[in-house]
């Protein structure tokens, strides 16, 4: 069978499965729509959380970032997993005990303030909307690359599928589809990784293979990779390149941001008991770590394969580089997508791939007759997408990778859309505009806001605003600097009050946003940057992506000081805090 047929078959079968689940898991009440009726088993919720969490970026881009940054990319691995420890220990069980539908609702009740709730809704909407645009773009990219339909058509097909299970089923439909999507994406990610680990090291487990001997050279794989890259002027793979402070703060920002992202937090409202919320976070991390511990192996092995494909013999030997006429088929295929490009600068009919920015290597390169790096473009995304082809794996594996990328993007999009629609229908409409609305009308409002959110997300996915690429910095910065600190203080500091929470959130948010906008342009408008986004200009060498941790610190300090210098929260709020600290008496999550 051709690759095209395999792809249609595998992707089509996975979509039929999602639609079948959508039909079976329709929501009949607001409880089912917002929290899946509160009856999800902790292991099942862990799996759904993992799919909810792992986006197109985790699936497609992360291994590529690791491949090219080596050790420095550890910030993403630790940051995006360590946040679950904070979530499990500091937030999830207490928010589950509190037993409401949304994150802003907790903020509003705990601080006895509709203003605080509104600030929470705004933070949630901005963080989730920017994030969901990236997912829709991911769906369009996966479709246009693997199924040879247009980008717009791809986004629209994705919108229709999400529409069915998210609008009909709400959290219930989303949860069961996410479980199916997790299975699809994890098989799609690990199968090629196992094959490649076997080819290079003879060890099936990639986590072990990365630390094993590479069979061809008899050297340890990572030592061999270090040698191959340093021989061509690149920094050693396992060596640190960025500043320690920046890696430290980036890891911290990603961890705090992860724990503060509302679409992840609300997944823990769906389990029956407080103790399930604790263990469910552990299961979520197990399912996430299966992919996250495989990714470093995929990155390193793909980098080694790529280097060996181009540098076929000794460095400096005229015959040591691959002839352009002899490059493998996959290189030509990916060249047409624009993700891979080369240019014969010295006209020798061969490709040289080396670090032409290294001063130390320059003299050597000149003596070889090299006139600059000829691999003019190697996109991060190619490392996962082209991996099965690089390793000569059968067509069905390549088709599986397409279905996996789509599952990752769709599952994250659905989780974000639910967070958005529940903030609109439950916090804005039911909570502020029309408190006397009936359950049936609220359910309808939830469905309409979900449909509206899908249309907006799809439109923005097709016509991405300039800031689409900056979503990671923005979404995590917002969650870290505004949402996480007020939630944590709401539980652990009985004395924290409404004015403290509101001023703290605004202070944390402003600090972070101003820092991001300073280097990336006000509201990401090109040309309005106050300074070039380079390490020399950064405050103490801290990148905008890593600044969320500073914003969180500002939020904590301001909220603490303002709370201490204003009146203590009323008696009933102090009782509420005492009550959420003990599991006894938690019912199913309710809206009132």
């Amino acid at each position: 069978m051709t690759l095209q047929m395999w792809t249609f078959l595998v992707v089509g079968a996975s979509f039929a499965l999602y639609l079948g689940i959508a039909f079976w898991a329709r929501a009949g009440s607001t409880g089912e729509f917002y929290v899946a009726g509160g009856g999800i088993h902790p292991v099942a919720n862990g799996m759904a959380t993992a799919a909810d969490w792992m986006s197109a970026a985790s699936f497609i881009s992360m291994a590529g970032i690791i491949a090219f940054q080596g050790y420095d990319a550890s910030a993403y691995l630790m940051g995006w997993t360590g946040g679950y420890v904070l979530l499990a220990l500091l937030l999830a069980p207490y928010l589950r005990k509190f037993g409401k539908f949304t994150v802003p609702e907790f903020i509003g009740d705990r601080y006895a303030s509709q203003t605080a709730r509104l600030v929470g809704v705004i933070c949630l909407l901005v963080a989730s909307l920017t994030y969901v645009i990236g997912q829709m773009k991911g769906v369009g990219v996966a479709f246009s690359r693997f199924l040879e339909v247009g980008f717009e058509t791809g986004v629209i097909i994705g919108m229709v599928i999400v529409f069915f299970y998210a609008v009909l089923g709400g959290m219930k439909g989303i949860t069961y589809t996410q479980i199916a999507q997790y299975v699809v994406l994890i098989i799609a990610y690990t199968v090629p990784a196992i094959f490649i680990s076997l080819q290079l090291t003879g060890t099936p487990l990639p986590q072990i293979g990365l630390g094993s001997v590479e069979t061809q050279s008899g050297m340890f794989l990572l030592d061999k990779l270090n040698q191959v890259v340093t021989d061509l002027g690149f920094a050693a793979y396992t060596a640190q390149k960025g500043s320690t402070l920046n890696i430290f703060l980036l890891t911290l920002s990603l961890m705090i941001g992860t724990a503060g992202l509302p679409h992840v937090i609300i997944r823990f409202f769906t389990v029956p008991k407080v103790k399930d919320a604790r263990s469910s976070a552990g299961w979520a991390l197990v399912f996430i770590a299966i992919l996250y511990t495989t990714a470093p192996a995929v990155g390193a092995m793909a980098r080694l394969n790529l280097m060996d494909t181009i540098q076929i013999g000794p460095v400096g030997d005229p015959a040591g580089n691959v002839e352009i006429a002899q490059v493998p088929e996959w290189m030509n295929r990916w060249k047409t997508t624009g993700l891979l490009a080369w240019e014969d600068k010295n006209g020798d009919g061969r490709i040289q791939y080396y670090n032409d920015k290294s001063e130390a290597f320059k003299a050597k390169a000149e003596s070889f007759g090299w006139k600059g790096n000829e691999m003019t473009k190697v996109d991060n995304d190619i490392m996962v997408l082209a991996n099965p082809e690089i390793a000569h794996l059968p067509n069905w594996v390549i088709a599986l990778v397409a279905a996996g990328g789509l599952a990752a993007a769709l599952s994250t999009a659905a989780g974000l859309l639910l967070a958005i629609s529940s903030a609109i229908s439950h916090d804005l409409i039911k909570g502020m505009i029309a408190p006397n609305i009936s359950e049936k009308s609220e359910l309808l409002a939830g469905r309409i806001s979900m449909a509206g959110a899908i249309v907006v997300a799809g439109y923005m996915g097709i016509n991405p605003p300039g800031f689409a690429a900056e979503v990671v910095a923005l979404a995590f910065g917002l969650a870290a600097s505004s949402i996480f600190p007020v939630l944590m203080m709401g539980i652990f500091d009985k004395r924290a009050n409404g004015p403290g929470a509101i001023i703290g959130m605004i202070a944390g948010l402003t600090t972070t946003l101003v820092y991001i906008f300073w280097f990336k342009g006000w509201f990401f408008i090109k040309g309005t940057e106050m300074a070039a986004n380079i390490p020399a200009n950064w405050f103490m060498g801290i990148s905008p992506e890593a600044f969320g941790a500073i914003g969180a610190l500002v939020n904590f300090v301001v909220a603490f000081l303002v709370s201490r210098s204003t009146a203590a929260p009323p008696e009933h709020i102090q009782h509420l805090v005492e009550d959420i600290r003990v599991p006894k008496g938690a019912g199913m999550a309710t809206g009132h």
């Binding site: 420890v85 630390g211 396992t238 890891t251 604790r278 470093p296 003990v582 006894k584």
Partner: protein, 84 residues
């Protein structure tokens, strides 16, 4: 539940939390970032130890921390009779 009991339960919880968060910090920020060069002088198999903590080990320990917390807290809930 008496206020003394409630306070004792919360104190036990905070003690457990602090210990686990110290470990959380040491394996990621300590071994994976601040002490990475020192640990990299040691190797296990083909992994330099600091690099292993940053890209593998910290994540395994995170999982253990959460399950250990869930297990200890469930026991604490029983002891103070605050379970559901």
């Amino acid at each position: 539940m008496t206020p003394e009991n409630r306070a004792a339960y919360w104190k036990a919880n905070l003690r457990l939390l602090s210990v686990l968060l110290v470990i959380w910090f040491i394996v990621s920020y300590g071994f994976g970032i601040l002490l990475v060069d020192v640990l990299n002088t040691i190797s296990i198999g083909g992994y330099k130890l600091g690099f292993w903590f940053a890209q593998q080990g910290s994540m395994y320990i995170f999982i253990l921390l959460i399950f250990f917390y869930a297990w200890r807290m469930n026991a604490l809930d029983q002891k103070f009779d605050v379970h559901e």
